[in-house]
């Protein structure tokens, strides 16, 4: 069962390093008290802009990896895309900047008890948390095939270590600048069949998640989705991040920062999702 991470803390952490990876930025943050309890799929929330900022709301990012660093203690790593004023500010910070961090937040990817065949499907920066998940899956003896899609090659996030973890990586790009030209869903059915996939995990843009879920539903393959809804708080108090989900036979507006971001694909009432 997915469960909300109840170990959330609010703390101040130092930005230990920031470096460009394609069009993304790889950030390493000191996060004492947060990194320790983080599970794959959890996210954190950051305050941005500094004291006199006009930006009040939290910015949330999936935890790419959390680990114990020999010299800096508990750290978390993020993969950040520039997509607005807050992320612009964040990636313009330099090492040493102090950041207010809240986390770990949200649900995590449920892990199968048995060593099954798994496909991870990531779009853009959505691939980041899936590689950490793959690590855990491999440790349980699963076979893991990765399908990583993006608009163009510079937006493909498939780090070397990540690639080593999984059994295979298939890259797709919309413009064909890397891997196969097309969408992740163009290659997914074939891989499902070839590798006898038992379970799918996906993370990326909502349109991709929906397309993947269509395939999973049609083949009755369990599908764990990490969704992305606009969030103002990330901690469950604002009710802005809701997604229509099936609860019994009713559609309910459910907070994706509390009952998500990782959700059973079949629970999502896709037809009611606003576009």
């Amino acid at each position: 069962m997915r469960q909300i991470n109840k170990a959330a803390r609010h703390t101040t952490g130092r930005l230990l390093s920031i470096r460009k990876v394609g069009t993304y930025f790889h950030l390493v943050l000191q996060a004492e008290g947060i990194a320790e309890g983080a599970k794959p799929g959890n996210f954190i929330a950051l305050s941005v802009g500094g004291d006199q900022s006009s930006m009040l709301l939290h910015r949330v990012f999936a935890i790419y990896r959390s680990r114990q660093d020999p010299s800096h203690g508990a750290v978390i790593e993020l993969i950040v895309a520039r997509s607005g004023k807050g992320s612009d500010w964040l990636v313009a910070q330099s090492e040493g900047t102090l950041l207010k961090i809240t986390g770990p937040l949200g649900t995590s990817f449920p892990l199968p008890a048995d060593p099954v065949n798994v496909a991870i499907v990531g779009g853009g920066y959505g691939a980041a948390p899936l590689f950490d998940l793959a690590d855990h899956l491999k440790a349980r003896g699963c076979r893991v095939d990765a399908i990583i899609g993006a608009a163009t090659s510079s937006k493909v996030f498939a780090p070397l270590e990540g690639k080593r973890t999984v059994n295979s990586v298939t890259v797709t790009t919309d413009d064909g600048s890397a891997g196969i030209q097309g969408r992740v869903t163009d290659v997914l059915p074939e891989i499902i069949t070839r590798q006898r996939i038992d379970l799918i995990y996906s993370c990326g843009p909502m349109a991709m998640l929906r397309a993947v879920d269509d395939i999973a539903r049609s083949l009755s393959i369990p599908h764990q989705v990490s969704v992305e809804e606009a969030m103002a708080c990330g901690v469950g108090i604002c009710m802005t991040c809701v997604l229509p989900m099936m609860r019994g036979d009713k559609v309910k507006m459910v907070r994706t920062c509390i009952e998500g971001p990782v959700i059973d694909g079949e629970e999502i009432a896709w037809d009611e999702v606003a576009r």
Binding site: H10, L57, T102, A232, C233, C238, M239, A274
Partner: protein, 308 residues
Amino acid sequence: MTLDFSTTIAGVRFKNPIFTASGCAASGKELSQFFPLKELGAVVTKSIMLKARSGRPTPRMAETPSGMLNSIGLQGPGIDAFIEEDLAWLQTQSCDVIVSIAGETVDEYGALARRLRGQRGIKAIEVNISCPNVANRGQVFSCDPVTARAAIEAVRINLGGEFPIIAKLSPDVTDIVAIAREVIEAGADGLALINTLLGMVINPKTLRPHLAGKTGGLSGPAIRPVAVRAIFQVRERFPSVAIVGMGGVVHGEDALELVAAGADAVSIGTASFGNPMSVIEIRDRLSTLIQDHGFTRFSDAVGVAHER
């Protein structure tokens, strides 16, 4: 010198004057992982309606300069589930609770009040007659003296004097003092000032309203000068009514501004979205500032800006 940081709202004592703002702390549980709720003066719960309500479609929010728009549309489980689950849980937290209610009709306000009668663990009822996120703007009861009065009267009659009534008003009116007068005459023991301002954001890419509900409520520091003004005006005319102030409080200094203008307590809303510890940090800072100004009782600072 120690500070008496308690405050009294319509005869009810709260251990300190920092409350959550309705709709900005859900029903308390979510914040309780960051600090014990009993650290607060009171938890003000999200406005609850008679029936379960799924609220508006997304997008429900837009960040604006020093503020945000929301159009949640009073999503909630309905009063019965609220009492059984949320209120019951809050009672286990030994924190003081103010329940916020919102009706679609005058009768619904009455029915909500009846339903709360006899409930334990409630210190006061906040009556939200000012939510801008309803399809029919005519439903903003506090924009009209007649409906404002009617909603408060319905609550008063059905509550039977059991809890103090705090009427929450909208700043989107020509004369907030006139509306305050109506609800006080109708039996409100206190006023909550202010709810959000009606606003809109156009998405620069689609050139369409960004919120699915088109308009939303503007909150955050952007509106603080409007809140201070509203509190000051109402306090000037009604020196003895209780006022719970809110609107853009992010720092202890901001809370002090509202207190000096006349607020007996201060609710924190939007600030919590960027920092879940805001309420505690603001409480502690306010306490320090008040002592630095030489006050030994919080209540002596209330409305001090009116002195010459």
